[in-house]
Symmetry: C2
Amino acid sequence: MKKLKIGVFGATGMVGKELLNVLYDRKFPIANLRLYAGKSAGSKLKTHFGEMIVEEANNADYSELELAFFAIGSSWSEENVSKAEDSDCTLIDLSSAFRYNEEVPLVIPEINPDSIENHKLIASPNCTTSIAAIPLWYIDKNFEIKNVRIATYQATSGAGKEAMEELERETKRVLDGKKPKCEKFQYPIPFNVIPHIDEFQSNGYTKEEMKVVWETRKIFGNEDMNIECIVCARIPTYRVHSEAISVQTKNPVDIGLLRQILSEAPGVEVKDNIFNNEYPMPLTATGKYDVEVGRIRNSLIDGKYGLNFWVCGDQLLKGAALNAVQIGELVARIYEK
Amino acid sequence: MKKLKIGVFGATGMVGKELLNVLYDRKFPIANLRLYAGKSAGSKLKTHFGEMIVEEANNADYSELELAFFAIGSSWSEENVSKAEDSDCTLIDLSSAFRYNEEVPLVIPEINPDSIENHKLIASPNCTTSIAAIPLWYIDKNFEIKNVRIATYQATSGAGKEAMEELERETKRVLDGKKPKCEKFQYPIPFNVIPHIDEFQSNGYTKEEMKVVWETRKIFGNEDMNIECIVCARIPTYRVHSEAISVQTKNPVDIGLLRQILSEAPGVEVKDNIFNNEYPMPLTATGKYDVEVGRIRNSLIDGKYGLNFWVCGDQLLKGAALNAVQIGELVARIYEK
């Protein structure tokens, strides 16, 4: 494959570090790698590619790059994307800045790789969306989805490195008999659940809850898809989002057949043997590329025309870095043509 | 009110201790109080009623009691309930032993107080059921429920004192850089989620998931009620079960009206002001008698004919001790007649 000049923006953040790990692990065709950041510019970063200097993100010269990963944040992406316009650099944006822009494809490579076409700006979806999307896609293809309802159990690292550190630090405080504080979260997170991620919208849903709706519809190419989040909740875990998902279908679902289909689906690991206490958990899904899927069974309400299941996916990997690198691999193939 | 001779069985357990707290706090009419336990028999227990000796549960003489709370466990309840048969003692059983017995009323005093009649054995429901039931009851009465789907976020103390201690002890181990162990749970619980509570049934649902179905139907007097748990999951919290609930209704739901109805409902505290970040959380619901209800909004899928909401309730209180004492208060009134 043609080797590319790569830039990783936000290289010192949680997702940035995972981007570097995944690029290395998947032997991405790299001709030259440069790291960029905002606040941490000027620092040195130890990577699998050796110790590297982190450059100032705002001053990047996109003519020196062929592929850039934007993992700094949505307002930074919004402000900087035009700087690459006159260059040949393709941008993969991990923020929410352009996901809902009609002219920007929103891509999960296992589902809609072709939507990349020759776009120079490609968006990677929200973590909660990515983790649920692949099993939902196979359910839709085989049994036709009527309705989807999701309740999430989201890890602190989804809110960034400092949020994860806050969980650790404040949990220690609680265990020392002290009162926990909160900075990154609205309330103390140790031994608590916070049913509030991202901003509230005028319809009473949070933006996190709406992202799943907007993004799944766009990725599935079905603007009328019936999908909603009962709630998106933050729980005191470090890594991996879990999701309880209830689906109604137009056609009857044979659970054995669905397990078989999902076990052959790329990006999915079926962990569904209740007789052996095998089911998805953050404990086992942490650091894993595949999304774990289990507890698959027909609905008590809808019978064969519905099912309930449970997924756990590393939101820093399939929910962010891995999905973006997979998009990068598709871009690399296009560059080759 | 006529003062009664009370026995608390399982007095040294988590629920037992809460039973004593609630009896004291609600000024229960007590003529004489005796404590019983299995393993801890012979020990002394400090209570609001003074330091008391814990007697051997198996040797209790029920002719000396008028009202007994059974909070030892379902197999103990099964084995011991017949011992009270020839006495005048009324038994309130907090275990699952008799909940599904047609001749035994299963009672939430805010919902079906009259089902107590003159029964001498009364069952108090599972914690997950009790916490969701009151808001669901008011939704059903006012808008007629079509379907209910629940995903739970359950605290470790629901599995007993040792399970809660395991969370604390093993979380410390993790924070000290050690590998966590598990004894009370199937897998380590610190910073993890375990989608498995109680035993798996042949239909792929856990017994915990089915308890909510069986018990809600019985309490509501509606054997055909469409209700299911997407999943019942254990999370690393000490106390309070949270539940994400999705309801479809036969009649359109006016959310403002529902908030008004719930704010006047006994046993419920509406915490639902998203502009002020007010919503139910374990942090605020711990130690509270009322179940917190919030994040109430119409469904994106069903519009006015559906809603999503979030409840947090102290499973040791409304989920166990409080509900049992409330049943006891109804029994005390019957004794008075």
